[in-house]
């Protein structure tokens, strides 16, 4: 097997020897250390294989032994290559193909991110692109370990990261940890400042000098509890020391939501007619194989994408996609006033959940409606009680305790 492969690579010639003494011819060749193999007696003639190099020496042996030599068959790589030697452009094209393949596989064509749960994939991809890991970038010259370190620095949530470039694919694996809370700056004096407007309903002060009482109206930015505690006063002024104010200041606030609920709306009734359309995305350009126009007036597009691969590790910068245009008939449906009012409550509840802090207590909700022909105008006033105080450093240097002297 191995010998056959070697012979194929080096090339060999099958010759027919005819004449009085083929044995003498073989002896002469062997004496001159010409390697011969697979000699077969074939109707008086001898067929024998020898290497290309050996064949040139065989001429002498044939003359001396009086045998005639005839080439029956040339086999092996050198002859195949020789045949293509004249086809210069074929060889050129072949070389160009290999060169191009090598050149194109030296780029990154696909960047994938896995393992992220809370971090956004796009944020990670953007950061990677900033450091040169993005589709279409050359992969040489990237120091992966440095990029990993930079990612760790940029995203404190990441506790472990691995960037691996295999073929034309860059794969980022991250493991997220729980971000440790920012260390509490104990000892540093601070005030409690209102973050929002409101009417104070209660103050539970642990440390510091309260500046307002329940019932007072405060504006965002007001100091609610001062970190400066006065301990005495004389003709020269106040004597005070600074503390880290700590207080829970609850305030009543009003939120107003204005929106409209349509009384008539459209639902889609799919007819079942689907038109398929195929295309390819090369780099960032969409190329449709057919007319990309929909034959329908009203339609939804459902598309699926499939990235082309050159083996597992060589994704290409091309995506095969399929668009399905699904025809539907729009049907107008009316909802009753009652339904619209229920819906407005649902909308308000959803917005409260999404927009207000988690520990907010909703004490009251009032709805005002104006009915138009096709629309229900809603104005909702939500009364909420929430903690409006935030700790803000005093912004002036000073010892944690006191300046009595």
């Amino acid at each position: 097997m191995f010998l056959k492969l070697l012979n194929f690579i080096r090339g060999y010639v099958v010759v027919a020897v005819s004449g009085f003494s083929a044995e003498r011819f073989i002896n002469l060749a062997a004496r001159r250390s010409i390697y011969l193999w697979d000699a077969v007696r074939d109707e008086g003639r001898l067929r024998i294989s020898c290497s290309i190099k050996g064949f040139k020496l065989l001429r002498y042996c044939s003359k001396k032994s009086g045998c005639k030599l005839r080439i029956v068959h040339k086999a092996g790589l050198p002859f195949i290559l020789f045949r293509y030697k004249k086809r210069r452009f074929l060889m050129l094209g072949f070389a160009a193909f290999i060169g191009l393949a090598i050149y194109l596989t030296s780029f990154i064509w696909l960047v994938t991110v896995d393992g992220n749960e809370r971090l956004e994939t796009k944020a990670l991809l953007d950061k990677l692109a900033e450091m040169g890991v993005s589709s279409g970038n050359h992969k040489s010259g990237l120091v992966l370990r440095d990029i990993e370190r930079a990612l760790m620095a940029a995203f404190p949530e990441i506790v472990w990261v691995n960037l691996d470039i295999k073929g034309t694919r860059a794969r980022l694996s991250v493991v997220e940890g729980i971000v440790p809370p920012r260390p509490v700056e104990t000892g540093q004096p601070c005030d409690i400042v209102a973050a929002k407007d409101g009417i104070i309903t209660s103050m539970a002060t642990e440390l510091g000098r309260p500046m307002f009482q329940p019932g007072d109206v405060v504006k965002a930015g007001d100091v609610l509890v001062s970190g400066e505690v006065v301990v005495g006063s004389d003709e020269y002024g106040f004597t005070s020391y600074f503390v880290r104010a700590s207080s829970v200041v609850l305030a009543r606030r009003y939120y107003e939501y204005n929106f409209e609920v349509p009384l008539a709306y459209v639902i889609k009734s799919f007819t079942g007619n689907v038109k398929r359309n195929y295309g390819i995305i090369l780099f960032d350009r969409q190329l449709f194989l057919e007319n990309s126009k929909s034959p329908y007036l009203n339609y939804d597009i459902v598309s699926s994408e499939n990235r082309l691969h050159f083996g597992e590790d060589y994704p290409l910068p091309a995506v095969w996609f399929e668009n399905n245009y699904r025809e539907f008939i729009p049907i107008t449906v009316r909802r009753s006033l009652e339904e619209a009012k229920i819906m407005s409550r649902t909308i308000v509840n959803a917005r409260i959940l999404r927009e207000l802090p988690v520990d907010t207590e909703i004490t009251d909700m009032e709805f005002y409606y104006v009915v138009d022909k096709d629309v229900l105008y809603v104005s909702a006033v939500v009364t909420a009680v929430e903690n409006i105080g935030v700790q803000v450093g005093l912004g002036r240097p000073g010892p944690a305790m006191n300046n009595e002297q």
């Binding site: 044995e23 002896n27 062997a30 011969l36 000699a39």
Partner: protein
């Protein structure tokens, strides 16, 4: 085959033979003997041969230090021929030493 050493294909004089046996020298080197290796009946390899005397599908005659080695068989081919050894394959029936 003569054991006395007068024949030209003999394995050397008595003194050389005794010396080679005493020193445990490889006999094929000292007496220029062929080494014949048989792989079952399908491949016979002769090392340290002198020359090919006759070759056809039935008979292969190889001259060596002891005389002529005659192989008889069916569809014999010369698998390898080099200056040192010759390999015959096919279905071998007989190995004979002719003097």
């Amino acid at each position: 085959m003569s054991l006395a050493g007068k024949d030209k294909h003999s394995s050397g004089s008595g003194f050389r033979r005794r010396l080679a046996e005493m020193l445990e020298l490889p006999k094929e080197v000292v007496f220029n003997l062929p080494v014949i290796q048989a792989l079952g009946n399908e491949e016979i390899s002769v090392t340290n041969y002198k020359g090919l005397v006759e070759y056809n599908e039935q008979y292969v005659r190889i001259s060596a230090g002891t005389g002529i080695i005659q192989l008889e068989g069916v569809r014999l081919i010369l698998r390898q021929v080099t200056a040192e050894h010759i390999t015959v394959s096919g279905r071998v029936k007989k190995i004979e030493f002719l003097n």
